[in-house]
């Protein structure tokens, strides 16, 4: 048996094979372990060209838009706390890229300001991964001391026992409900207990229009639409279609940061409500909400063929590759970060920012809503008192508000802490930020404070998609969303709510 030569193959001696294996694995190891330099995606900053944005909500001279420096992509490595501290707290942050760096800098600032507490910052994944990671940490018995939680997630985390109430700490620190923007504060409450503090209150949205496009179709560039009817008429005027190709659309209402957010935004503009707290009923079939969806279907989808529009939409991406930035739509609701991107990437685009238009039928004007991130203390955290000290530094009156001011300045955000000095010192002096401040002041809504928020948002998004792309009746799809979410809500409350 040993003497037989194998048919056709050249024999490889065992030694040679081992040599090849060793060499091959060494090469593979070197290739894998060598740190690939991440591509720097640093966009060229706006070279301060002459097109200064004019803001309609305030009168005043134009000024260049300020904001955080353009961000090169960096590798996120957890920030280790300063050594030799009495207590070290662990913070799960859901901000990535420059946001993560900013929190690291904030942590450093905090450590410099006091000798006892060290801060370790860990990246917990962006939405919705932050939820998975935080839940896993809590379930595994090793919760962080502070966790980032998105505004609408607070109530569902509270109900499921992931966060602990902060009321005693809030009282000791002398914070009051009044110190925060009302919608943001409402979002953090569940059964009269507070479960998080708001880091930033996003004014959603400012109505932004492209002055150049307005001029092109003989519309007064300084006169944005004030009502929904006017806006729809302007949109038809601004739309350019050549044969089968869409060259520009006045606006696409369902591209307001995704289907669920579009439903919320326009639902509120039309005077709708999504949740009746008194009766505990989901009201996605509220007449105002139905009217908003019908407007989207009749005014845009049916007129321009949704499949063609979807194809048009698919050519664009998120952020600065979106249709408004590329000049393919002329009107778009944007949040403060969105406007900042305009200044960064399209410095020659002349635009204005104003309140959202008023809906028909006596709807309340200037109907914006408030979003933004919060942070809370998970149940079972090892150092809740120390954690709250840092939380207060980030989002409250800690260290006379220096932490809040630093974060706001660094990231160009509007703090949830209404009483921050940042507002009179910086925001009110800068036209675009001041415009958003005005919008924030008028904002009365926040996403419904229900523990089935994720389910509700998905149901609303599905209703919008079914009506716009699937041709279904708006009233029916919204009724379905209402029923399915109501069932979910009752099940969750029965199981976990008390």
């Amino acid at each position: 048996m040993d003497g037989q030569k194998r048919y056709g193959s050249s024999e490889i001696s065992r030694r040679a094979l081992l040599r090849w294996l060793a060499g091959g694995s060494a090469a593979a190891l070197l290739a894998a372990c060598g740190n690939a330099t991440p591509p720097t995606a640093a966009p060229t900053p706006a070279a301060g060209s002459g097109a200064a944005p004019r803001v309609t909500a305030t009168s005043g001279s134009a000024a260049a838009v300020t904001g955080p420096p353009p961000t090169p992509t960096i590798q996120i490595t957890d920030r280790t706390a300063a050594s030799g501290r009495k207590t070290t707290i662990e913070v799960y942050s859901a901000w990535s890229g420059d946001g993560f760096t900013a929190i690291g800098e904030l942590a450093e600032l905090y450590e410099k300001s006091q000798p006892d507490i060290g801060v370790k910052v860990v990246f917990a994944g962006a939405l919705p991964d932050n939820e998975t990671k935080t839940f896993a940490a809590v379930a595994g018995g090793r919760p962080p001391d502070i966790a980032w939680v998105d505004g609408p997630q607070v109530s569902s985390w509270a109900v499921q026992g992931v966060l602990q109430p902060l009321d005693q700490y809030i009282q000791t620190a002398g914070l009051k409900a009044d110190d925060y923007w009302a919608p943001s504060w409402r979002q953090n409450l569940w059964k009269d207990k507070t479960y998080a503090l708001t880091l930033n209150s996003d004014a959603n949205f400012g109505f932004v229009w492209n002055k150049g496009s307005f001029k092109e179709v003989d519309l007064d560039p300084e006169k944005p639409p004030t009502t929904v009817d006017e806006m729809t008429r302007f949109s038809d005027q601004l739309t350019k279609i050549e044969g089968n190709r869409v060259l520009r659309l006045g606006m696409i209402p369902w591209t307001t940061y995704g289907s669920p957010n579009s439903m919320y935004t326009w639902g509120w503009v039309f005077g709708g409500e999504f949740y009746d707290e008194a009766s505990g009923k989901i009201t996605a079939d509220h007449p105002g909400v139905v009217a908003a969806l019908e407007w989207m279907v009749e005014g845009f989808a049916k007129k321009y063929d949704p499949t063609r529009l979807a194809g048009f939409q698919a050519g664009f991406g998120q952020g600065e590759t979106g249709p408004f930035y590329q000049g393919q739509t002329a009107m778009q609701p944007l949040n403060p970060t969105g406007v900042k991107l305009l200044g960064q990437f399209k410095p020659n685009l002349q635009y204005g920012v104003t309140y959202m238009p008023t809906g028909p039928g006596g709807a309340r004007p200037r109907a914006s809503w408030v979003g933004g991130w919060c942070a809370g203390i998970p149940k079972g955290a090892k150092n809740p008192e120390a954690a709250f000290q840092f939380l207060n530094f980030m989002a409250g009156n800690g260290a006379s508000g220096t932490g809040v001011k630093f974060l706001a300045q660094r990231r160009g955000l509007l703090p949830g802490y209404k009483k921050s000095d940042y507002y009179p010192e910086v925001v009110e002096k800068e036209p675009v930020q001041n415009a958003f401040l005005d919008i924030l002041k008028e904002a009365r809504h926040q996403r419904p404070v229900v523990p089935v928020q994720a389910f509700y948002s998905k149901a609303l998004g599905k209703a919008l998609d079914d009506a716009v792309f699937g041709g279904k009746n708006p009233k029916e799809v919204l009724a379905e969303a209402t029923n399915s979410t109501q069932r979910e809500l009752e099940t969750v409350l029965r199981r976990y709510g008390n």
Partner: protein
């Protein structure tokens, strides 16, 4: 002679050892297998059994699981339209991509079996796409399928055809995914190629001498002898197709208008977005039962027609 005696001696020693230390033999064997056994128990068996248990509970991952009996299954089958919709989407996808994939793989394997020069390079080239990571493939195809600037529509435009919306059109989204699934047929092609090369050429020659046409040779020789490979590909393709997840999650997230909401996508949403782990586990076990039944039916109906080697 010397070697024969030595072999006899070692055989005898082995027999004695086996007779005198039965328990020790078993233990030593188990000790060597222990890492694999422990790994299997901890990471495969336990999660499977746990998910079976959870499927009868209401569990959000944090609080204690709450026993609800068959409620999850009843709710899924009776009250959940999205369940049936996602199942329908998945069946559509599997029903289209599986036959197409197998037919295309078979034809490709037959072509790659031809004794051309450089056929080895061709085989490598056709296999290459299947080792590209799924996520990278998904991102690339997002660009290819783009209705305004993508490769396909631009190419169609040069001959004057207005391409459809592909992934943005509810009617074309699933077919687009089926088309994309043809990118990953490398493994199947390889298996079929191996099978084709196993068919004895003597049979072909005999048939040719007897006057059989190429088609006749194909249907009466190639297909029957390839039957085990075909069965294997069908079963594994079925299992994989029903679990289709990565590409939809990245490319469409279930849209547009829920046209690509696949079963596993809905399962993922239930488990990790809505925190209904019990409900999601029930979905997983329903899927298991469905695939098991289908596989069983396929085995039974094809047992007669599949020849394994020299049976």
């Amino acid at each position: 002679m010397a070697t024969a005696a030595a072999t006899d001696k070692s055989l005898a020693r082995a027999r004695t050892y086996r007779r005198r230390f039965p328990v020790r033999r078993t233990l030593v064997g188990l000790a060597f297998c222990a890492p694999a056994i422990i790994g299997f128990l901890a990471f495969s068996a336990y999660p499977v059994l746990a998910s079976f248990y959870y499927s009868f509970t209401d569990y959000n991952g944090i609080a204690e699981p709450f026993w609800v009996g068959l409620d999850n299954y009843v709710l899924l089958l009776r009250d959940d339209p999205v369940f049936w919709h996602s199942l329908g989407n998945t069946l559509f996808y599997v029903g289209l991509s599986l036959p197409l994939g197998i037919i295309v793989s078979f034809c490709l394997a037959a072509l790659l079996n031809l004794p051309l020069r450089g056929v080895a390079i061709l085989r490598a080239l056709f296999f290459l796409p299947s080792i590209v990571p799924l996520v990278a493939t998904a991102m690339i195809f997002l660009l290819i399928f783009n209705p305004q600037f993508g490769l396909i529509n631009t190419a169609l435009a040069t001959v004057g055809i207005v391409g459809p919306g592909w992934l943005s059109d509810p009617n074309w989204a699933k077919p687009s995914l089926v088309l994309m699934s043809l990118w990953n047929i490398g493994n199947t092609v390889l298996i079929f190629l191996a099978g084709l090369q196993d068919v004895p050429t003597a049979l072909y020659e005999a048939a040719e001498i007897d006057g059989a046409s190429a088609a006749r040779r194909f249907w009466s020789i190639t297909i029957p002898l390839m039957a085990p490979y075909l069965l294997f590909s069908v079963i594994t393709g079925l299992i994989g197709g029903f679990q289709y997840f990565t590409q939809v999650q990245i490319m469409t997230e279930g849209g547009p208008a829920d046209s690509t909401r696949m079963y596993s996508l809905y399962l993922y949403d239930n488990a990790f977005i809505f925190h209904k782990l019990g409900y999601a586990s029930a979905m997983a076990w329903l899927l298991f039962m469905l695939v098991a039944v289908i596989s069983f039916v396929i085995f039974r109906t094809s047992a007669r027609r599949v020849y394994y080697g020299s049976e």
